[in-house]
Amino acid sequence: MASLKELSALPEVLAPGHRLCAGCGAPIVVRMITRAAKGPLVVANATGCLEVSTTIYPYTSWNTPWIHTAFENAAATASGVEAAYHALKRRGKVDKDINIVVFGGDGGTYDIGFQSLSGAMERNHKLVYVCYDNGAYMNTGIQRSSATPKGANTTTSPVGKVSYGKRENRKDLTEIMAAHNIPYAAQVSPSHWNDLYQKAEKAFAANGAAFINAFAPCPRGWRHDTKDTIEICRLAVDTCFWPLYEVVDGKYRVTYKPREKKPVTEFLKAQGRFSHLFQPGNEEVLEAIQKEVDRKWEELLKLEELSNS
């Protein structure tokens, strides 16, 4: 286990000076994940906040080879990079062992990029796909995605006289990725940096495709103070809204079990996007959210038990 001091001394792939907002979760995820790659690293990026804010021509924040082609196809683009790697290695044109990591937002991963991600995972390309999940299309101005939590106020699921925000529960993408029977799938949060780093190491070491779903607050879209990013991550984990777990060759392991599971309202009330839920009349919505969190958490514990028995 590396100390924070050791980790901070590792080479930086994402240089400072990029244009992501203060307090943005995405660059924290990137800097933590990329530290775990041993040796040369190629980054593929889907269109989204991370991509537009780090590569404004003629500048780039990336100290490592990086490619962005479009929004829905980062996994397919990276599949081609991985194929090229095998071909060129076989023909003696590349000698190093390399790592490939993909970063896509939740829109580029859960929604428009879902098919290309599924394809790349099924083909088991040796790459690490990281979704930085900020629960909406932030780059285009906070529109709902299938990762947006129930009750969230977004510009396409706005709160109104007859609307409490997004009506549907989130898609559980980590489960869907685990169902691809890939060597490694995990969920991480920047608040638990050591857990995150260890999972990233395992993902890079996996013998094939790996998927990491990373919680990545967006102070602008979630309406919280920029200084509270890590605190909100912690609340998401402690309320079991965002459980930390991994699935290795089909075996589930919940890597962090809160000693005391906090009510989900602690997580919700810290963010402006849920503030309307605390107005009279929305009690049922809060209840439904809590019920769903409980159900999913119990299910996860059962999966852990079953898959290890």
Binding site: P40, V42, A44, E51, V52, T55, I56, Y57, P58, T60, W62, N63, T64, P65, W66, I67, H68, T69, A70, E72, N73, A76, T77, A78, S79, G80, V81, A83, A84, Y85, H86, A87, L88, R90, R91, K93, V94, K96, I98, Q115, S116, S118, G119, E122, R123
Partner: protein
């Protein structure tokens, strides 16, 4: 030196699969669609039998096929794919990105009508819709030309003056599935001809890492697009240089177009791909009767060799441009409007009319071609065309 060639009987798709086999690209990412499917199947067998060492990515869609091909090409691999119709439409977004990245990808496109109504047969609506994507487009009359064009396309695309992707188009079923006699070059000759691909910048250059596909705002975007247009302009001379080199190894000559009895022709049909073969029959027939008719078969339409086309047609009195795709502008097909525009500065202009023909695989026989020449004759006598745009052989 006698040229070494091997005569074989093959379908167009088999010939193209063999051209790709001889190129032996580093990466192929492809998805099946009629009438392109055989190429993917043949190539999968080549890989399965160890006849090539290409890394093949059997992607889940054409959008991903082009995305993976782009990823591989940016990584420094010689990368190819192939498609038709809906597949080309699905990858449309990525076509712009391949050319915007200046990647030398070669893609055979087996022409097929685009839905709706759904139809698996030949017309050119797929590639005509891709004319503004920054790809070169080379059309082939038959299996031999498709084979030859794929091999030449690799060199054209990778030429440092060009560095643009190339589509090699040929007609679905008519060329892709019919068995023809053709000549294959020896493997070693093709290998020598295409040479090694060693790009300057790749994703695997860890010493000077490159950012591929950054956000470019109004301060630089125009320059990047202007450079792309310059490369397309430069491709013109490269196409001829490569054709000349290719003639040395094959004995077969290529240019921007093929003229058939064009020199003294007064009435000329301009048509792409396999229909040109049918038109040649009719030209022979009418020539035997003393009629001054001819044919121009464009081979390259991106870049559009406007001056050369105008020159080739400068002696004609009446020209029928036959387009195998609608534009719905109501002003005629793409080839027609571009060719007409090319004549804007010309001191003398032939009368020009347009036929939209052969949609969704409607067979265009010598009878229809004869009818077109009859129309041209009447136009010539009248001194004007009676109809600018005609849907040929359509029930009314």
């Amino acid at each position: 030196m006698a040229l070494e060639t091997k005569q074989v009987a093959m379908t167009g798709n088999e010939a193209v699969a063999n051209a790709i086999k001889q190129i032996n690209p580093d990466v192929i990412a492809a998805y099946p669609i009629t009438p392109q499917t055989d190429i993917v199947q043949y190539y999968s067998s080549f890989v399965a039998d160890g006849q090539v060492d290409t890394q093949m990515v059997t992607v889940e869609s054409e959008h991903s096929a082009m995305s993976a091909t782009i990823g591989a090409s940016a990584a420094g691999a010689r990368a190819m794919t192939a498609t038709s119709s809906q597949g080309l439409a699905l990858m449309h977004e990525m076509l712009h990105i391949a050319s915007g990245f200046r990647l030398p990808i070669v893609m055979p496109v087996v022409n097929r009508a685009v839905s709706a109504p759904i139809n698996i047969h030949c017309d050119h609506s797929d590639t005509m819709a891709a004319l503004t994507t920054g790809w070169l487009q080379i059309y082939s009359e038959n299996a031999q030309e498709a084979y030859d064009n794929v091999i030449q396309a690799m060199r054209i695309a990778e030429d440092p003056r060009v560095r643009l992707p190339v589509m090699v188009c040929y007609d679905g079923f008519i060329t892709s599935h019919a068995v023809e006699n053709l000549f294959l070059l020896p493997d070693e000759t093709v290998k020598q001809f295409v040479g090694e691909y060693n790009p300057k910048h790749t994703l695997f250059d860890f010493d000077s890492p490159v950012t591929f596909g950054p956000l470019v705002l109004p301060d630089y975007f125009s320059e990047i697009k202007a450079q792309e247009a310059d490369a397309m302009r430069a491709a013109k001379e490269v196409i001829l240089e490569i054709a000349e080199e290719f003639a040395k190894i094959s004995g077969r000559k290529y240019g921007y177009y093929e003229g058939y009895h064009l020199e003294d022709a007064e009435r000329v049909i301009v048509v792409l791909s396999s229909t040109a073969g049918t038109a040649k029959e009719v030209v022979d027939e009418l020539r035997a009767q003393g009629e001054k008719v001819g044919l121009m078969k464009p081979r390259v339409i991106r870049p559009f060799p406007a001056e050369e086309f105008v020159k080739a047609l400068s002696g004609a009195k009446v020209v029928a441009v036959m387009d195998r795709a609608e534009t719905f502008s109501t002003q005629g097909g793409q080839l027609f409007t571009e060719l007409r525009a090319a004549f804007y500065e010309a001191p003398t202009k032939p009368l020009m009319r347009n036929y939209i023909f052969g949609l969704g695989g409607r067979d265009t026989t010598t009878a229809e071609i004869r009818r077109v020449f009859e129309d041209l004759k009447k136009d010539q006598e009248r001194g004007s065309v009676d109809r600018k745009v005609t849907h040929l052989d359509v029930r009314v």
